[in-house]
């Protein structure tokens, strides 16, 4: 499902956004602060049996049960075990047409930064190891690049793909 590509606006039409940058799979990722509810330290994560690796956990935020997702899976990034710096970003997203709250894992959270629409670039067609349809754009801050994931595309893909359907087989 190439939803991301269809809805992507031309670079020039994108406005400026405030983003929080984080480390994931050894790379930098940017998430718009507009959808960020809070950043928390991981507490007890409950394993969801038979769920895909992308959303294998559940955690509690002020009484709400929120699924924990790992963007490293769809973005094919290197997976490393959690450290002291590991955090969870609690986000407001849209799942299946309805607003929902999800958490994404972050190996380390860096600063919040202003990103201008003009500075964003398309994902190069060659040489990029991330699935293009999951990445909205590449951002650049000074001499560093960071990846802006297309969260809508990632979540839609997960909801419809067969990997998420696990039958009751022991």
């Amino acid at each position: 499902m190439m939803a991301g590509q269809d809805t992507r606006r031309p670079r020039s039409a994108r406005g400026d956004t405030t983003m929080v940058t984080l480390s994931l799979g050894g790379e930098l990722v940017g998430i718009p602060t507009g959808i960020l509810r809070e950043v928390i330290e991981p507490g007890t994560i409950t394993r969801v049996p038979n769920a895909s690796a992308f959303c294998g956990g559940l955690f509690n935020v002020r009484g709400a049960v929120v699924p924990l997702t790992d963007l490293r899976i769809p973005l094919r990034m290197r997976i490393s075990p959690p450290t002291e710096e590991t955090r969870i970003l609690v986000l407001d997203v849209v799942l299946d047409g309805t607003p929902a709250v999800v958490g994404i894992l972050a190996e380390e959270v860096h600063e919040v930064t202003e990103v201008s629409g003009a500075s964003l670039e398309e994902v190069p067609t060659v040489g990029a190891r991330w699935p293009r349809h999951f990445v909205e754009a590449i951002g650049r801050k000074g001499d560093r690049f960071f990846l802006i994931p297309d969260l809508d595309a990632i979540f839609s893909e997960h909801l419809s793909s067969s990997e998420a359907v696990v039958a009751l087989h022991a």
Partner: protein, 652 residues
């Protein structure tokens, strides 16, 4: 602000129309029941009165005659007949049409029928009695001489003579003097009686109407003498108005009101969002309370423990009350079914009895509303296709009247709603043929009876050659199935040819807060709805070995399929010694769930799973435990079903 009242009126009016219809239908079986007649009359009267208040004059006028007719019934001057009830029901429909702005014309026909029915007409038009001679404008401009005396008990009733006098003064009264003629001696003076009268003059331009206006609400026992002074026509002398009846007052109704029909309860309308909010708050309270209990237990402080227990008791009470608020008994929709059967009786030429069992069974309000249309469809189907014509039934040795029965009951953590008829049953052969025709099943596929019957729930299937006006409204059997599944329920079709058909709908009780049994499997915690737990036993030694392929336990001489939860959940590590088996039920079926340890039971707040996890059928939701961690709730009906599948796979 009046818009608010207008909206309320429409809601209220519809409610009244429903209550009216229900009352009329009940009267069919209990025509002599006075409380029913009274309640029908009261509904008519209230609907008429408030209808008039909110500008629905057509409605008020229309209902007036029906009200009068029922008044006649109430007073025993006219008997309740099937024709009257039928007319009443049609009037009810017309009233609803009028409320929705429909044509008033059909009402005339109904009223004509009513008149014909009650011919010999006892519709006493209340002749308004005059309260005195019609006011007359004095042709001349002579001043008025007035003397008046109010009723002796008027002060007790709240009259304010001083206000009256002020008003008269405002009209221009002069020479105002009290009249103490009626004043008794001190001993006989009763402090709350008015003995004083007044005399005064009023200018000639004041009309009699204006004067009367002043005495509004004081007309009873008013002695008013009004004389025009010469300069105009002959003096007008007012006689005293009719004195009150001297004798004891005869009341139509007894001083103590008749026992209200059980339906009467003080009801309140609350927007559903507020209820949801309240449920959320109570849910959060339950979670917080659990955490408190845990922390307090650790301190061991007896006083704290006592207070924590008290809070738990209060939280439980609140939870039960809030849960019950959204729960509505199924009888809130059964009246429309009764109405449907009543109509079908006539239209189909069949005699149909409708029975309801378990009307007081409660379900979440939204669930009931979603079920209403599917149930209507099923009932129509039964009546139309299931039940045979009277001759056919007689020939088959069945009672002429066919019976359709709706029953609702609780079963563990579910509610089971069954619609049964004693008609001709389903023809498995025809169903199979039809399904093949429609491409729903390959000719060589082997299906047992259960599976074949289930074919009628597939979209694209329809056994009726002609979709009759009654059953073909776009609510196919597949929509029924979809609705039930949307509510996380299951639907099952059962039939015996020649004897009848039964359709069972199993729905989970969608309570937001349930009692949960907390268990531990491989160090992870899960919750099982306590209502679904039948009992807990130790896993027998012989099954405890890992890799043991057995799938059944012998529990009280019954073979119960059991699932090793560790395997199902992909848990790691060796099983604990002395595993337990939680025997859970869904409907008539059981399954044993093997767990490492039983931790205990507690109230758990059910949180919906994210759409990301909705495909995982093993779990029906999640909950937050006392220590803040999340525990998944096992979906018992799914696990039971899985146990059955395993069972049949084993057998194969």
């Amino acid at each position: 602000m009046s818009n608010d009242a207008d909206d309320l009126f429409l809601i209220e009016a519809r409610q009244l129309a429903e209550s009216l219809e229900a009352g009329l239908l009940d009267m069919k079986s209990r025509p002599e029941d006075r409380t029913l007649v009274d309640s029908v009359f009261r509904d008519l009267h209230t609907l008429k009165g408030s209808g008039a208040m909110f500008g629905h004059t057509a409605l008020a006028t229309f209902l007036h005659d029906f009200e009068t007719a029922f008044d006649a019934v109430r007073e025993g001057r006219f008997a309740v007949t099937a024709a009257l009830i039928d007319l009443g029901l049609r009037a009810c429909d017309h009233a609803v049409t009028l409320l929705e702005g429909g044509e008033a014309a059909p009402g005339q026909a109904l009223l004509a029928e009513l008149t014909a029915l009650i011919s010999g007409g006892d519709a006493p038009a209340a002749a308004p009695a005059e309260e005195g001679a019609a006011p007359e404008e004095g042709a001349g401009s002579g001043d008025w001489q007035m003397a008046f005396r109010l009723a002796a008990d008027c002060l007790v009733l709240g009259a304010r003579p001083q206000v009256l006098l002020d008003e008269l003064r405002a009209l221009g009264a002069t020479d105002l003097n009290p009249d103490f003629d009626a004043l008794p001696t001190l001993i006989d003076l009763e402090p709350d009686r008015l003995y004083i009268g007044w005399r005064l003059r009023l200018p000639g331009h004041v009309t009699e109407a204006e004067i009367r206006e002043v005495f509004l609400f004081n007309e009873e026992d008013l002695r008013l003498e009004l004389t025009r002074e010469p300069a105009g026509p002959p003096p007008e002398v007012e006689a005293a108005t009719a004195p009150p009846a001297a004798g004891p007052v005869a009341m139509a109704a007894a001083p103590t009101p008749p026992a209200a029909p059980p339906r009467e309860r003080t009801m309140m309308r609350v927007p559903a969002e507020r209820l949801d909010e309240m449920m959320n708050r109570v849910g959060e309270l339950v979670i917080a309370e659990a955490r408190l209990a845990e922390l307090v237990a650790r301190t061991g402080d007896a006083q704290l423990v006592a207070v924590a227990e008290e809070i738990q008791r209060l939280a439980t009470g609140m939870r039960e009350t809030t849960m019950s608020i959204r729960m509505t008994p199924i009888d809130s929709i059964t009246s429309r079914f009764r109405r449907l059967i009543h109509d079908l009786n006539g239209a189909l030429g069949k005699s149909i009895l409708f029975e309801v069992e378990g009307e007081e069974t409660e379900l979440d309000k939204t669930v009931i509303e979603l079920l209403a249309d599917p149930l209507m469809h099923l009932i129509r189907n039964s009546a139309d296709h299931g039940l045979e014509l009277p001759e056919v039934r007689r020939a088959a040795g069945k009672p002429e009247a066919g019976t359709i029965r709706l029953s609702a009951r609780y079963s563990g953590a579910e509610v089971v709603i069954t619609l049964a008829d004693d008609g001709r049953g389903l023809d498995v052969g025809r169903i199979r043929a039809r399904a093949e025709e429609r491409g729903l099943v390959a000719p060589e596929a082997e299906l047992d009876e259960q599976a074949t019957l289930a074919l009628i729930l597939q979209p694209g299937f329809s056994t009726a050659e002609t979709v009759t006006e009654l059953s073909g409204r776009g609510v196919g059997m597949d929509v029924v199935k979809r609705t039930v599944e949307q509510l996380r329920g299951t639907i099952e079709v059962e039939s015996v040819p020649g004897q009848g058909t039964r359709i069972h709908m199993r729905l989970p009780l969608t309570l937001a807060i349930i009692d949960g049994l907390l268990v531990e499997i491989a160090g992870e915690r899960y919750t099982i709805p306590l209502a679904a737990v039948e009992h807990i036993i130790e896993l027998p030694e012989e099954h405890a070995k890992r890799g043991d392929g057995s799938r059944f336990l012998n529990i009280r001489d019954q073979l119960v399929p059991f699932l090793r939860m560790r395997e199902l959940l992909g848990s790691e590590g060796p099983p604990a010694p002395f595993q337990k088996v939680v025997v859970a039920t869904a409907g008539e079926l059981r399954v044993g769930l093997t767990v490492d340890r039983i931790i205990g039971s507690s109230q758990t707040v059910i949180k919906q799973l994210s759409p990301l996890h909705s495909t995982l059928k093993t779990f029906s939701g999640a909950t937050v435990l006392g220590d803040g961690s999340v525990a998944l709730i096992l979906d018992v009906p799914q696990l039971v079903a899985f146990g059955q599948i395993r069972d049949s796979m084993e057998a194969a």
